[in-house]
Amino acid sequence: MVQAGELSTPRRSRTPRAAHAGGRSRHAPRWRVLAVFLLPAVLLYSVFIVYPLLSAFDYSFFEWRGIRQAGFAGLDNYRDLFGVYPYDRQLWRAFAHNALFFAGTMLIQNTVGLLFALLLFRYGRGKRFLQAAFTTPYLVDPLVVGYLWSLLLNPTFGPVNALLEAVGLDSWALPWLGDTRTALPVIIVVNAWQWVGFPMLLFSAALAGIPAEYHEAARVDGASAWQAFRRVTLPLLTPAIGVVSVLTFIGNFNAFGLVYAMAGSTGSPAGSTDVLGLLFYRVAFVEGGVEAIGRSSALAVLMFVFIFGVSLLATSYFRRRERMLV
């Protein structure tokens, strides 16, 4: 989310040098200089990231017997994912849950993040502390976060339900993670709890970049706070919102740790929280059997293609919106 700030920066910044002038200084150095600057990163990245990822892509087209390749399989692994019961159903179910996860996160985490950023914008003493407090859950591993929250939400001894009962909301004291209707929403909220600091910091940075005169102008025009927000602030936050959306999308479609800790590898209860990350884990590590490597690689390739494609589309969409604004 750091870069999010950066991305949104250049256009808004009052210093005209940004983006246009700076980046394209267009000095053409000697190739030896270039090599010194570029080679270390390119080598490190190619050997340890690109090569394994290409291998995984390659793996998805082979038949596997344990860790031994047993011949070219063409698209069989992909076909299995769509055709073998119960993977065929689980694939679409997990996909739908990821989509819900994304929608819910956009709705909860990012609006709350924006709200906090707005409330903290002109906040006095304690601002730094609050910003830090909201962000600290990020420092704890998602697996641990999931475990801690499932203790807190336990229907028998968990304090959440105890609290609800104490204030007379007995009917609200549900078995949160044991009910197919509430489990996924609860996980979405806990995920938002862990990450809300990031949209907050991002939006804070973007807000700081909006020239004060804009607000002044709105006030002079007699706009209410809401109108000023709706007509001035929100449009100016478009780049930041774009960045947050794309990041949320990638994060949610790769979700694993937190869901695993709260819903187990099967997306408990009754698969109501199953997501693609869990399906991958099951196929690759838990019950994949002799064909695990091929099928799981195929699933990973599908996930990658989908996430990559949508991210590209989303980004170009937000770029267009941004340009329209200027």
């Binding site: 989310m1 750091v2 870069q3 700030g5 950066e6 920066t9 250049p10 910044s13 940004a18 983006a19 700076g22 980046g23 394209r24 200084s25 267009r26 000095h27 150095p29 200089v33 010194v36 600057f37 570029l38 270390p40 990163a41 390119v42 490190l44 990245y45 340890f48 090569y51 990822l53 291998s55 995984a56 906090f116 409330l119 304690g126 502390f129 830090a132 407090a133 909201f134 600290t136 859950p137 704890v140 591993d141 641990v144 801690l148 203790l151 807190l152 336990n154 001894f157 304090p159 910091l201 991002l202 940075a205 700081a208 970049g209 706070a225 694993f256 990350g277 991958f280 690759a284 990973a300």
Partner: protein
Amino acid sequence: MRAGRRAPGRVAVHLLLWGYAAVALLPLAVMLLNSLRPTSEIFTAPLGLPLSPTLRSYARVWTEASFSTYFLNSLIVTCGAVLLGTAVSATAAYALARYDFPGNRLLGAYLLAGLMLPIRLGLVPIFYLMDSLGLIDSLLGLTLLYAASGVPFCVFVLSAFYRSLPAELDEAARIDGAGEFRIFGQIMLPLVRPALASVMLFQFVPLWHEFLYPLVLLRSDEKFTIPRGLSQFFGEYTTDWSALFAGLVLATAPLFVLFVLATKQIIAGLTAGMSK
């Protein structure tokens, strides 16, 4: 959005923000409290106050599980990876952002392409790669892998920063006869320092927690990182909760310290170039 000219509104805002701060910190308190209770107590009552707080778990984790060794290894691997990853990215991002050469955009795209895949996917190929490089059970192997995993992120953030710097800076220096490396080291690098700090912190946290690769790549106890060491408390049917919590507290504490120390830098990094 304006916190309020009216008093009741302001009170509500204070309540909301400070109330949420409590919600944000509370579960972490559970972790701390449980680390002070013996496993038998956690087993029968998973939540509760430590009636007779004991530091025995900490002592056990520290000595029995040689936590100090794990800690040192984690520090070496994570710091090494973050420093190496950031260093190579800082130069590469600079070249991509400020130099004109054929294939510039292509290379930029290439460095960013590996971003959308969960690292779990590469497990088997990465194992074979490390094996063929003789880097099994080696902290160096883990460090290189982690460093490489940070490259796309760093290049992306840092090149955005370099781009926002005025062109006159290096042009003037070049006219003064400064070499390319001097321009980079003495003029450009200091200017992106806030971004470097943010980038390093955001790489640090997930790497510090990463446990799958140490499990698969490391073999000997004296090379374990913290998450690998703590995995020893997860039995097939039993878990040593108290020790686990103590270990988690010990593992997370440095992150808090780091975070508190770095917040100023992070916020500066985020807002740099915006306000002035």
